[in-house]
């Protein structure tokens, strides 16, 4: 799943004669959004085509076991018939597309009798909750630390902030997650005789969320802070900022009204896909903290060749990413008045 960060190619997608009715800013925005939403249909179609081809060219069948005695051939044949895998691949593809048009994403091979939609509906709320929580940490902390470091460039504050960012970015999150479990669950439990400790995993809308959200947020916080710092430094050197200082404005006004509005554009560009990533789950964080989300379900589906589940989650991820990019594009309009969506 690749995420292409950056602004999408604008214009050239709308017939000239329609441009006349899109004069007003709101009108143009509405048409733009509708057009982008319609564009998602071919995008999803191609995602399905590519996933379908890749999935069926990967070796191994959904019924293979990881060691031990394999299912007998008659059982495998009957399973293939049960799930339509005995039909030609192209026919399977057409059938899948036909079913998707009817919002039927099929039954999971792995979880018998469960539909892909049901599995996603079960797992996504967990993933989305932790992802949203992590995002709520990333935006203020990432931007805040970045701006702080830029304003205090080459001071101890800057070094400390960027030191933290480098540290957070260079540790893989399974290391951070495991260390936090040892520290805040196991050792804390021993030190406080079981009076206070964070749960070492599992689900619960309470202290269970703390460690996974922080683990998930650390890398994006670091990344966002570095990006904000660089972009803010660049903005601080612009002529209009010098003018603002010269006018005698307070630091607060200069930063909020003049610097941030311009320095945030690249940050917002990356935050869109970051958000999409966060709410579609991290297999590592979900495994370390035993969260029954769809990040793990996706990887399990791939390793067990659960074709309908692979397709279903991939389609979901592509839609989420497309929507996140669209939201970013719309946000540009409000952040930077020079941007026109046409």
């Amino acid at each position: 799943m690749a995420v292409i960060a950056g602004r999408p190619n604008r214009g050239a997608l709308l017939p000239r004669r329609l441009a006349a009715v899109t004069d007003s800013r709101v009108g143009s925005l509405a048409v733009y959004v509708i057009r982008r939403v319609l564009w998602m249909i071919p995008i999803v179609f191609f995602v399905i085509v590519i996933t379908f081809v890749l999935m069926h060219s990967a070796q191994g069948s959904p019924w293979d076991k990881a060691g031990g005695r394999q299912l007998s051939q008659v059982v495998v044949d009957n399973l293939n018939k049960k799930y339509g895998l005995d039909k030609p691949v192209f026919f399977q593809f057409l059938l899948y597309i036909w079913n998707v048009l009817h919002f039927d994403f099929g039954l999971s091979y792995q979880y018998q009798g469960k539909s892909v939609v049901q599995l996603i509906a079960e797992g996504w709320p967990y993933t989305a909750t932790i992802g949203t929580l992590a995002f709520a940490l990333i935006v203020p902390l990432g931007i805040g630390l970045g701006v702080l470091a830029a304003l205090r460039q080459n001071t101890r504050v800057d070094y400390a902030t960027m030191g933290f960012a480098t540290f957070a970015a260079s540790f893989p999150n399974f290391v951070i997650g495991s260390l936090m479990i040892v520290l805040f669950s196991v050792l804390m439990y021993h030190w406080t005789q079981g009076a206070f400790f964070l749960p070492a995993g599992g689900w619960g809308v309470d202290s269970h969320l703390i460690m996974p959200a922080i683990t998930l947020a650390l890398l994006p916080i670091a990344y966002t802070a570095r990006l904000t710092r660089a972009s803010t430094l660049e903005t601080l050197r612009q002529d209009y900022i010098r003018t603002a200082w010269a006018k005698g404005l307070t630091e607060r006004l200069v930063v909020i009204r003049h610097v941030l509005k311009n320095s945030l554009i690249p940050v917002v560009t990356t935050l869109g896909p970051t958000f999409a990533f966060l709410i579609t789950g991290s297999v590592i964080v979900e495994t370390v903290f035993s969260i029954p989300g769809i990040g793990r379900a996706f990887v399990v589906a791939v390793t067990s060749r659960d074709y309908p589940m692979i397709l279903g989650t991939t389609v979901l991820f592509s839609v989420v990413i497309a929507v996140a990019n669209l939201v970013v594009d719309i946000l540009y309009v409000f952040i930077d008045p020079r941007v026109r969506l046409t």
Binding site: D64, K82, G201, S290, S304
Partner: protein, 567 residues
């Protein structure tokens, strides 16, 4: 030979089992914790793929199924024989063909209705319906139940073909408390087959109600709808499911109508924690009462004054081996295979890679079941003899170096195989390489015979009878687990004779011959028997741990007798 008119096969009373029961603490049942504290938290690792027991194939599935449903018989704690479960007794006709199971008249479903013999017939037919393609159905159609050998040739798209097949099976219910199974030919091991977790009674009315009415036998989705919700998973076992939180946990509470009376444990929560380190942390914070210790933490546990006292090591009925592709020269030469088998220092492997938990093994049948026999040490570590064998075979290092050791990409397999390939390189003067690839791709390759050496692969007993083991190396199993497909003259006939043999001593003698053949021809190189290294809280009492327990669920065959002491 047990040639009476009828053989009363179930003899062991529950008293025998109680003697085996071992509390892990010093407390007795006199200081039980109050009933709201009678809660057991265990880690099942992964959520069952299905809650329909007939569809379950993995131990983590059986770990739930065994509590919610109860089979006709179950293995006794020592694994030496079967003992009564849902059937209070059974008779075998003198020709070994007809098995009559006497069901308990006071057996009830978790919704209070009586368990009838017709429920058993329906459950067995549900398992044997070819359209539903149950993964563990083989022991029921492969040379056992009368009429079931046609399983593979039924047209699964035709409801009438399926109905004809199912009605022709040797399953009948002469009255509500008698379930009769007729076999194709004598199979002394069949009493073990009915202990498999897939062979359960199922309620037709519940299945059809959940499906919204009756359905043709060729339907593949409707017959599984009842297993989707805790409300419709009605079982005959000691516990029932009160809650399923998908991929997180399943909660079991006592089945108030269970014939065996109320258990001590009022709640068993089976968590689905995949990361063994997370489970280890949760054990230390008191959220889990029993876990399997992750390999990396074994030494930590041993050095910890508290944890080391809570550790329990016990054998699993699982043997691992390395497979040589006997269809590919020079591994078609038994001397070459034996040279590889004799150049693995299994004790060093066990000590250096597995922290001394597992046990080296030079034979097939694991310790803990009939057939375990250490007398044949032909595969014993002996580098000098191994080199001599290679010389005798006229195979040079250059010839062997082009082969690789095919390895599944799990951490455990990688570390084991790094050690093993290093042993071969050192002891045989080779320079072979590992080939680590994605697990599914490995299976696809070995299925096609596209490998030279592959491992470790192994087998864990479904039930402690040797029949469950020796058919692995049948010629016809070449694409199931006998990947190397070694030519074993006379082996199939010998094993089939033993399978049908009613005299247990003669059976054992035949199986012993078959085992010697496997060892002497180095069909595979046996390397170790799996042991379970667990931590169990001292307040969990009344556990009866057996070698057949499902992974990470110590004592789960007898949880009905387990309890929590005051702590």
């Amino acid at each position: 030979m047990h040639l009476g008119t009828r053989v009363r096969a179930v003899a062991l009373a529950a008293a025998g089992v109680l003697l085996m029961a071992c509390g892990t603490g010093t407390s007795t049942s006199s200081n039980l914790a109050p009933s709201d504290k009678q809660v057991l938290n265990v880690n099942d690792g992964t959520e069952p793929n299905s809650y329909d027991p007939t569809q379950q194939t993995y131990t983590y599935e059986a770990g739930v199924g065994r509590e919610v449903f109860e089979t006709l018989l179950k293995p006794n704690a020592a694994g030496t024989d079967v003992q009564p479960a849902a059937a209070s007794s059974f008779d075998v006709s003198s020709d070994g063909i007809t098995y009559t199971f006497h069901l308990r008249s006071n057996a009830k479903w978790s919704d209070g209705k009586p368990v009838k013999a017709s429920d058993w017939v329906y459950g067995y037919k549900h398992l044997l319906n070819p359209a539903l393609a149950a993964g563990y159905v083989d022991p029921f159609f492969d040379g056992t139940i009368l009429g079931a050998d046609g399983y593979g040739s039924v047209d699964v798209s035709s409801a009438s073909a399926i109905d004809t097949f199912l009605s022709g099976l040797g399953l009948s219910a002469p009255d509500d408390n008698t379930f009769v199974i007729k076999l194709q030919h004598p199979a002394a091991y069949f009493k073990w087959v009915v202990t498999l977790w897939v062979a359960e009674p199922i309620r037709q009315d519940i299945v059809e109600q959940a499906a919204g009415g009756s359905f043709p036998s060729s339907d593949t989705t409707k017959p599984e709808m009842w297993a989707q919700s805790a409300n419709t998973i009605i079982g005959n076992g000691p516990y029932k499911i009160s809650e399923i939180v998908s991929k997180d946990h399943v909660t079991l509470v006592p089945n108030p109508n269970y014939w065996g009376g109320a258990p001590h444990l009022q709640k068993i929560t089976e968590w689905f924690i995949e990361d063994a380190n997370t489970a280890y942390a949760k054990y230390q914070t008191g959220d889990l009462d029993a876990i399997t210790v992750p390999l990396a933490n074994v030494d930590v546990v041993r050095g910890d004054p508290v944890l080391s006292k809570q550790a329990k090591v016990y054998p699993k009925l699982t043997t691992f081996w390395m497979t040589f592709n006997a269809q590919r020269p020079p591994f078609d030469n038994p001397d070459v295979r034996m040279a590889f088998a004799k150049s693995i220092d299994r004790d060093a492997l066990n000590k250096q890679v597995q922290h001394g938990i597992q046990q080296s093994i030079l034979s097939f049948i694991p310790k803990g079941m009939a057939g375990y026999d250490t007398s044949n040490d032909a595969q014993k570590f002996d580098p000098a003899a191994a080199k001599a064998l290679l010389q005798k075979a006229g195979v040079t290092a250059d010839q062997l170096n082009k082969f690789t050791l095919l390895t599944r990409n799990t951490t455990r397999n990688k570390t084991l195989n790094q050690f093993i390939v290093q042993q071969w390189n050192t002891n045989l003067g080779l320079n072979m390489q590992l080939e680590v690839i994605d697990s599914k791709t490995v299976t696809a390759n070995i299925r096609k015979g596209n490998f030279s050496i592959y491992g470790p692969d192994g087998w864990g007993a479904d039930y402690p009878d040797q029949q469950d083991w020796f058919d692995i190396f049948f010629k016809a199993s070449c694409h199931s687990l006998n990947w190397g497909c070694v030519d074993l003259p006379g082996y199939d006939d010998l094993v089939k004779k033993a399978d049908g043999e009613l005299d247990q001593n003669q059976r054992n003698a035949d199986y012993k011959k078959a085992q010697d053949q496997l060892i002497n021809s180095a069909a595979v190189a046996f390397i170790f028997q799996d042991y379970e290294y667990n931590l169990i809280k001292p307040y969990v009492g009344g556990l009866t741990i057996t070698a057949g327990d499902d992974q990470s669920l110590p004592g789960n065959f007898f949880w009905h007798d387990a309890y929590i002491t005051a702590h």
